[in-house]
Structure formats: C-alpha cells, structure tokens
C-alpha cells in the first residue's frame, strides 16, 4: 500500500510542504506572525516559552523546536530569534541545517528592531517559499507513515465508538509496518496495568509505570481532589465519573498491538516502528505540539463533546463518537463514529472509512480544521517554574 508524499533529504516523508517560521522564544512571536501573514505556504508556532526558565526546560524547548523543524511536513525553516533568549538558537540552526533542509535565521536585536526584522524575514521566507513550492509528491510505501493519536473533549461515547475506530486504524498501520504514537500520560491512570501488560519487555513496562507515577505525584502535590481538573467539567457533564473511567476509554485508541517503548516529550521518531508512547499531558496545545514534534504527518483525534483544535503543520482528522455532537458540529468533524453507538455501523466499517480518509489526507486532502485554520493556540509543555 502506498501514498503520495514529499520525500525529504533525510528520507522522511511529509504530507504537507510548509516553510516553518519558528520563533526561538515567545518574544519573537509577533515578528514570526507578521512574516507568515505576508508569505503563502508558511506556518508558525506561537508558543510562550524560551526564556527565564530552568536549564532542563530551556533544553526541552530548544529540542522541541528542533523536532518541529525536522517534521517531514516542513520543507524549509526560518528561525526568528530575539537575540538574548535562553533557548540555544545556534544549536537549533546547526541541527536543523544538518537535516539537509534549507534553514535560515534572523535575530531581531541585531537587525535593528521589529520592523526591520519583519521586512528582512519576509524577504527570506518568500525566497524559501518559492524554492520549496516546486517539490513534487512521490509514491512511497505506507510504512513511512507516523500517525499521532489523541482524544479530547471526551464523553462516554469516546471509549465505545471513536477511540475504537482509532484503535482499529492503529492496529492496521502497525501491521503494515508503520509507526503509531499515543500519549496523554494522565489518561493512563487506572489503566496503566493494561498498557504495561502490552509492553515488549520489563524495561518498557517499568517506564510506563514510571511516567504515570511521576504524573500522579505532580497532581497529588497540589493536595486536593484531582476532579474538576481531570476528568474536566465537560467530561463529567458527558458522563465520565472518574479519571479511571476516562483512562480506560482513552487507552482503547491505542489498539491492541505491543508497546515498543516510551518517547520523551521533545523526541522525534528516527527509525522506530510499531506502537510507541509519548510522555505528554492531555491538554491540546501541549500534546499537539509534542505529537507534531514526533514527526507525525497527521493526527487522528477522537472526540465526544466536540473539540475543534488543529495544529499548524499537522493535519488533524476529527472522529466524533457522539451522534448528537456530530449532528451539531458536522462542520468541524471529519467522520461520524456516532453511527456505532446508534447501531447503524460497525467499528470495522467506520475504521475502514477512517483509514481511507487518512490516505486521502496524506495525499493532500485537507481536514476540516485545516481548511478553516483553527490552530494558533499551541504551546510547549514544560515542567519547572517560570523564573
């Protein structure tokens, strides 16, 4: 089985062909945004990190931004640096250039301010956009796929319909030799023993228990009942009574295949195949960034109550498990898995529809949130304080 993708110099294959204008620090956001406003085929990541943070977090931000630039959906990179930030913009430039993609960098302070940086940055971005616009799609094997998965604004239909559909697609992709990555460590609480049983070895099983334990300790350190945080008020209104119930429904989307290992939040996939976990929180802006940093060409996103978010460089396919929500929010939902709840379709039938949609999206068809560009609210998940 094959799809039509953009083959990058490092051998990875993209479903999109963007120039990424990457702010190395939040202080460079406005310049990056202005450049993107003027140049077709560009996207940016308006995050809020990159300075006045503890060293491990600064490394985490630098590594995440590098991984975003390495994503196969990115054809070329323009780094927008302020000049005095805590992130390592020189390393960003060096490591991204090593991938063989065209990479440029501008420093706002060195250039004499915001308007000059916007002007020169726009010139550079325009040149990069013209340069990469001629890259043609090529036929590649489906094993080049890296699928990210997530569920958001879940209700009780998620674990019984839409997550089952994603699980079906995940199993099929793993069997075809592709890579599947799921996260949301918070939503392993109460289901971690089931995931650990699927680990390929004891080391991976211990890793799963370790990331869940760390996440639970962070929640408990606040000293109160976690509910109203997780499950969210929306989840509770949707019928989910506890994090355990939410988790057991959430892990269904990982399918049934063995878990090969745990990736750190900023880590990108090099040659890992099969099913992997990425240690991320559940909230959309942070997990979507983490998953795009994985190098996923797209994400399959399950929802019950109707989460509309996407991501700048990663198309997000929305699969809705609640038939009422699908009716209300059809403009934002790509697939109706609610027909499983009403008994009109089986998991396999909707699973095959989702797989077909996936291949079309890999080939270039837009998802609904991509078409409406609902994807500016993103962020990088950090662990320590802002100082």
């Amino acid at each position: 089985m094959e799809f039509m993708g953009y083959v990058r110099p490092d051998g990875k294959v993209g479903s999109r062909n963007y120039v990424a204008v990457i702010p190395s620090v939040t202080c460079a956001n406005d310049v990056a945004q202005a450049i993107c406003h003027h140049v077709q085929g560009t996207i940016t990541y308006l995050h809020h990190q990159g300075c006045c943070q503890m060293p491990p977090d600064l490394d985490r931000v630098t590594d995440t931004l590098i991984s975003l630039g390495l994503s196969p959906n990115v054809a070329a990179v323009l780094i927008v640096s302020l000049g005095c930030e805590g992130t390592d913009h020189a390393r960003m430039y060096r490591e991204l250039s090593a991938s063989g993609k065209p990479v440029e960098i501008i420093h706002i302070q060195e250039m004499g301010g915001v308007s000059k940086a916007i002007q020169q940055g726009t010139d550079i971005a325009r040149r990069l956009a013209v340069k990469v616009s001629g890259i043609q799609r090529e036929k590649v094997d489906i094993s080049k796929v890296i699928m990210a998965i997530k569920c958001g604004a879940s209700d009780t239909t998620s674990g019984m319909a839409s997550n089952c559909v994603i699980g079906y697609v995940a199993d099929k992709l793993v069997d075809l030799g592709a890579t599947v990555v799921f996260g949301e460590t918070t939503e392993f609480l109460g289901g971690e023993h089931l995931l650990a049983k699927r680990a390929v070895n004891d080391t991976v099983a211990k890793e799963i228990f370790r990331i869940v334990d760390e996440m639970e300790k962070r929640a408990m350190s606040i000293g109160c009942d976690m509910r109203k945080g997780q499950p969210t008020p929306g989840n509770i209104a949707g019928g989910l009574s506890s994090i355990e119930e939410k988790s057991l429904g959430a892990i269904v989307k990982s399918g049934t295949r063995p878990i090969q290992g745990v990736l750190a939040y900023p880590q990108h996939v090099t040659n890992q195949k099969g099913l992997w976990i990425k240690d991320t929180p559940g909230r959309e802006p942070e997990i979507l960034t983490g998953m795009a940093a994985t190098g996923a060409q797209f994400m399959m996103f399950s929802t019950g109550l109707g989460a509309p978010q996407g991501f700048p460089s990663m198309p997000v396919i929305k699969i809705c498990g609640n038939p009422h929500t699908y009716q209300r929010m059809e403009d934002d939902m790509d697939l109706n898995a609610g027909l499983i709840i009403t008994g009109e379709k089986t998991i396999e039938e909707v699973g095959e529809e989702a797989f077909d949609k996936m291949v079309r999206v890999l080939n270039g068809e837009m998802t609904k949130n991509e078409a409406i560009q609902y994807f500016s609210a993103i962020d990088i998940h950090c662990l320590g304080p802002v100082i």
């Binding site: 976690m226 506890s242 119930e245």
Partner: protein, 98 residues
C-alpha cells in the same frame, strides 16, 4: 415506543451506559451486552444521555466496574437501576486529599 438502550461493555461490569435522551426515574431501559443479551432495568433517577446506571446492587466501599476494570469506589450504597456518577462514585487516583 422508541427503544431505550443502555450498553454494558464487559461481562464483569456492574454499570451500563445509557444512550437515550429524556430518561427519567421509573422508566425501563434495555441493557445490552456485547453478545446481544438483553436485561430490562427500571431506572432510579433522571439520567442524561451517555451517563451510567447500576445493573446490580453495589454496597458502599465496593468497586464500580466498567470495561471489566475498576473505575472508582461506591461512596454510598447503590441499588440496581440507580444513577451512578460523581455523587456516589469516588475516584481513587491522583488524589492529594486522601
């Protein structure tokens, strides 16, 4: 009359999820399992779409089971047909207050 359906995911489950609108106290729902077996249960309480009822009596302090796994503990005694949610189910995870 339109069928009022509730689904039980796993044989071990002591709750089922209602997928019907306008369920009020005293109404009867048909609880189906994956094999298609049906069990008629009279609902106690008004239960919104996608929310759960007990399919058997659950004593206070006992596990509430869905997907064949524990999703929390009964904070009060629960009888068959009763609405099960945050008012009578306690989560046991991530709790700094316990």
């Amino acid at each position: 009359m339109e069928l009022k359906l509730a689904l039980k995911v796993n044989d071990k489950d002591n709750v089922a999820t209602i997928f019907a609108d306008g369920i009020t106290s005293g109404m009867e729902v048909e609880v189906r399992d994956k094999k298609g077996n049906a069990d008629l249960v009279v609902v106690k309480g008004d239960v919104p779409y996608g929310h759960k009822i007990a399919v058997e009596d659950i004593a206070q302090g006992k596990q509430i089971i869905k997907y064949g796994e524990e999703i929390g503990i009964a904070s009060h005694s629960i009888t068959r047909g009763e609405y099960v949610h945050v008012h009578n189910l306690d989560s046991m995870r991530g709790r700094g207050d316990l």
